[in-house]
């Protein structure tokens, strides 16, 4: 029989303040199989660990139960200690008497002590049955797929590639650059966004380890960390890269004019187009949705004038698989649709624009070449109202969260407006001004003090058109007075929301999100660049609103995690996965469909002249979730060290008094 040791942690007063640790120790003394019981103030400390290690050796223990905090925190620690002491690490179990006991029963110490005793006893029953397990070794494909070619994806790709690993940078749009390439100047230093981003775009396109796949989408994924198979869709561009010589003749003859995505609808583009001059790759794309017909009988003007014959109408979408060890999600954001903000006109008024449209108006490469002019009539606006939190921090009607960057970019917008229209007046309606960032507060103060922007603390209730003015009704909550501004232009700081299509993509990748669709991190503080599903990493606004410096930092963090994963050729996987109990499985196949990772297959074999059936588990795919176990009517499949007999003896131990 196994000699079992039990160690009860006080966790300072976290446990001992509620649970009478000494009584738990007394209760376990003499419990069947328990050879050693001991308590200590902080078992996770170095002396605490030493205590466990020494006891295992001294008393020749065969298994240990550590009654302490959640196994998600220190299971790894104590399994390490067990291994150091010469045991198989799976001979250590954690009894969670903190999160599941002392923290929730602070008002009833007697009950907490009783419950803690039961939890510990039940874990003794588990460890009694635990088998020695060895980790599964799997090879690692040292290639990363980075989804999204904005600043987050670009930085991640560069950092992974610089460490010597291959990267596929997948972007659904015709060019990389993302949102950042659309911006004018960046806070708090006012350097031109394009000027600082284009060198990185060029670096990505020229990096020998990076393959840029623009106009591609991820459509599926299978496999697991280190061994993913990513299914990619190559959308037809109808223009052969490499053959096209960028002569622009196709654009000149194209008769179709549609709003430009790059200029957020403030300017036009043709059906065949280059999104912007510095696009990477520098090649035209024929947008099949607006093209008059890929049927050359209807139009085909572009193909006629194309001298190098680069236009090919019969290109078809292609789907292909790539192998990768890690996937980085850097899918970025869109703005919340203005049509949902009826109180601010809901897209009815041309001169009520989004902050991204204002970025394009301010941008040197924008539709007005950086001159501030309003969309309706091209006049220079004399009075501009900026509305912050136009949908953010509004749990009743829109989004409850803070979009984080709006205070700073609105200050920047107001400042740049004043720099260009010296005699103009700018108003900013705000709830609070939040400037936590290096040099941010100083920047905001400059906007108020040097550039004389009028900050009004209060919300705007209504925006409507009167003649050629946009009337803004708001309140100044500091003076308690209603405010009316007859403005020429109104700029809304709309909430940042996950990019269009992200929801669909995350479903395909089986990535959990929060209620607003931002992809979940493994731990909000300690593992902010990883997803709980191993092998998936996060960068940029896909995970939550953030500014450029923070995005770049997170991107480099994600890249470092990928590099760490790729640092060895082999990966150790948890051996606690499903195992078929050969004598009980009769191949009824109930477990095959419910398996969320398609790890189970049915095999047929001949035995004694008869055809028999049985299921088989793919060790590489199984994640040990236990769904198969729950569906099996014959106890024919079980997750190792997680079997039904353990649960039964746990329940018995719990019910004993």
């Amino acid at each position: 029989m196994k000699r079992i040791g039990v160690f009860v942690c006080h966790c300072g007063i976290n446990i001992a303040g509620t649970v009478d640790v000494k009584r738990v120790v007394e209760a376990l003394k003499g419990y069947p199989g328990v050879e050693h019981v001991e308590d200590y103030i902080y078992l996770c400390s170095e002396p605490g660990q030493g205590l466990v290690r020494d006891a295992i050796k001294r008393k020749q223990l065969g298994a240990v139960v550590v009654a302490a905090c959640s196994p998600s925190l220190h299971e790894v620690t104590f399994r390490g200690v067990t291994k150091d002491a010469g045991l198989n690490p799976y001979q250590c179990e954690i009894a969670n008497i903190r999160e599941q006991c002392s923290w929730v029963h602070q008002e009833d110490k007697g009950f907490a002590t009783k419950k803690a005793t039961r939890i510990v006893k039940s874990m003794v029953e588990v460890v009694r049955l635990d088998k020695d397990l060895e980790p599964i070794r799997v090879p690692v494909t040292r290639r990363a797929v980075v989804i999204g070619g904005g600043i987050a994806g670009i930085q991640t790709a560069l950092d992974i590639a610089d460490a010597g690993h291959e990267v596929l940078l997948v972007e659904k749009n015709p060019s990389i650059g993302g949102r950042m390439i659309q911006l004018s100047e960046t806070f708090p230093t006012l350097d031109c966004s394009q000027c600082i981003l284009t060198p990185k775009m060029v670096a990505v396109s020229r990096h020998p380890k990076i393959e840029v796949l623009t106009y591609h989408e991820v459509v599926g994924i299978s496999g697991f960390v280190g061994n993913f198979k990513v299914e990619l869709l190559k959308k037809p561009r109808y223009v052969k890269e490499g053959t096209c010589n960028l002569c622009n003749k196709c654009v000149e003859v194209c008769p179709v004019v549609v709003p430009s995505e790059f200029d957020v609808g403030l300017a036009w583009r043709k059906a065949i187009y280059l999104p912007f001059p510095q696009a990477v790759p520098s090649v035209y794309t024929l947008d099949e949705k607006s093209c008059l017909g890929l049927d050359p009988i209807r139009c085909g003007k572009c193909a006629e004038v194309c001298e190098p014959k680069a236009i090919e109408f019969d290109m078809r979408p292609e789907v292909f698989d790539v192998e990768a060890g890690a996937v980085v999600v850097a899918t970025g954001f869109d703005l919340y649709p203005m049509s949902k903000l009826g109180e601010y006109g809901g897209e009815r008024y041309e001169d009520v624009i989004s902050s991204l449209e204002f970025e394009r108006i301010l941008s040197a490469s924008g539709p007005t070449k950086g001159q501030v002019r309003r969309p309706s009539d091209g006049k220079v606006p004399r009075e501009v109202v900026f509305i912050q939190c136009a949908g953010s921090r509004d749990p009743e009607n829109h989004k409850p969260y803070c979009s984080k960057i709006c205070c700073m970019y609105t200050a920047k917008h107001a400042m740049l407006y004043k720099h260009r229209v010296h005699d103009g007046t700018a108003y900013v309606f705000y709830i609070d001004v939040r400037t936590p960032g290096k040099d941010f507060e100083e920047f905001y103060q400059r906007t108020v003090e040097e550039d004389r922007v009028n900050y009004v603390r209060g919300k705007v209730s209504k925006v409507f058109k009167q003649g050629d003015k946009i009337v803004v009704w708001g309140v100044d909550t500091l003076s308690g007075k209603k405010v009316e501004v007859k403005a020429d232009l109104v700029v809304l700081a709309l909430p940042m929301v996950p990019a269009a299509g992200a929801e669909d993509l995350f479903k395909k990748l089986r990535l959990s999100t929060n209620e607003h669709g931002f992809v979940q991190e493994a731990h909000p503080k300690l593992r902010p660049v990883e997803h709980p599903n191993s092998g998936f990493y996060l960068a940029g606004v896909a995970q939550g609103p953030k500014d450029i410096p923070e995005t770049v930092a997170q991107a480099s963090g994600a890249a470092a995690k990928v590099d760490a994963l790729f640092s060895s050729a082999e990966l150790l996987r948890e051996p606690t996965i499903a195992e078929v109990v050969e004598e009980l499985c009769d191949g009824c196949a109930f477990c095959i469909d419910p398996c969320p990772v398609q790890a189970i297959t049915l095999v047929e074999y001949t035995w004694d002249g008869e055809v028999k059936k049985r299921v088989k588990v793919n060790e590489a795919l199984c994640v040990g979730c236990g769904v198969c176990m729950a569906t099996c009517p014959k106890k024919g499949i079980a997750v190792r060290n997680f079997t039904a007999d353990r649960f039964l003896s746990m329940v018995e131990a719990m019910l004993e008094d």
């Binding site: 009826g342 209504k462 409507f464 058109k465 009167q466």
Partner: protein
């Protein structure tokens, strides 16, 4: 089609034009609005007290009456009644204990059997929205009949009316849910179906000052003037409303508004059911016709070619419908 109908007090007093035109128009649509046999005031304002027991009793008693009639729907034309009944119905379902208490309280009611004159004390338990749904007649038209199914006899083209929604028809949006409170379209859509060209204006959902009309008439005048002049500057020749109180503020007070704001020349105001009746070919130009309108509507209707005296008068149509319903008292002796 027959449907239980709750008129509310105002429609029997200050807003008979709304009731008459409603019954006439729906009569022309083959919808018999069966007035509840017993009803009280709905409370007029949604109860704001914490427990709302007393405040909910009246509307729930009204809804129970619809249940007794064997219907799962109750319609109303007044925006205020609609607001109270619909919210009370929703709120009632939220608290099981309060539901029990209100039902127990209402079980003390006594009714007299019409035939045997026997006193009856048996009442069904009222459950909530599962029992009876409250629909505004606009909603009923849109969802149960369909705007496209209205057999329009007379296109209301050239009328240039601005739909004015007010507050109670739209808010609070999460409880009422009739339309987008910032961008309502339901009356626009009805007007389009009738062949009119709705005029959009920014104050279509601003408050008319409501009950402030009584204690601070100057506020009501200012608000109403803002609404009317905004519609006018967008090119509207008339306003169309659903609510008797809105009508009072933006119509009945127009002489005072003109005194205070001499630039304002006046603008006719219709109830939506009056335009519906016109579109259905029911003439409103007689007995009860435009008596409650202080601003002349005939000029506008004539200029738009809508004053056809050949059609059945509302008086007759309504009285005919009224007799069947037993709903309409005799012509006012005022």
């Amino acid at each position: 089609m027959e449907i239980p109908y709750y008129p509310g007090c105002t429609l029997k007093a200050k807003a008979t034009a709304l009731e008459q035109s409603t019954i006439a128009a729906f009569g022309a649509l083959d919808v018999l609005l069966k007035e509840l046999p017993r009803w009280t005031c709905c409370g007029a304002v949604y109860p704001l007290s914490a427990k709302k027991i007393a405040g909910l009793a009246a509307p729930i008693r009204i809804l129970r009456e619809a249940k007794i009639m064997g219907s799962d729907t109750l319609v109303t034309a007044c925006a205020f009644c609609y607001n109270v009944l619909k919210r009370a119905n929703k709120e009632f379902g939220a608290d099981a204990l309060r539901k029990k208490r209100i039902n127990a309280y209402l079980a003390d009611d006594v009714r007299v059997d019409e035939v045997t004159s026997e006193k009856i004390r048996e009442w069904p338990e009222y459950v909530g929205e599962e029992d009876v749904k409250v629909l505004h007649l606009l909603e009923f038209l849109r969802d149960r009949i369909g705007f496209d199914k209205i057999p329009v006899k007379k296109q209301l083209s050239g009328l240039g009316v601005a739909p004015y929604y007010g507050c109670t028809l739209l808010r609070p949006a999460k409880e009422i849910g009739l339309d987008d409170p910032e961008h309502p379209v339901i009356m626009h859509d009805l007007l389009r179906a009738l062949g009119a060209e709705p005029v959009d204006f920014p104050f279509l959902n601003e408050c008319c000052a409501s009950f402030l009309s009584l204690i601070r008439p100057e506020t009501a005048l200012r608000a109403s003037h803002l609404i009317l002049s905004s519609a006018e500057s967008e090119g509207a020749r008339a306003l169309v409303v659903t609510c008797p109180l809105c009508f009072y503020n933006v119509e009945s007070r127009q002489s005072e508004i003109r005194e205070q704001y001499p630039d304002f020349k006046g603008m006719p105001v219709f109830y939506f059911t009056e335009l519906l009746a016109l579109g259905l070919g029911v003439s409103l130009d007689c007995a009860v016709g435009w008596k409650e309108h202080t601003v002349d509507v005939r000029g506008l209707l004539e200029s738009a070619g809508l004053m056809d005296r050949g059609h059945a008068s509302l008086g007759l149509a309504a009285q005919e419908a009224g007799r069947t319903l037993g709903a309409i008292p005799g012509p006012s002796k005022r």
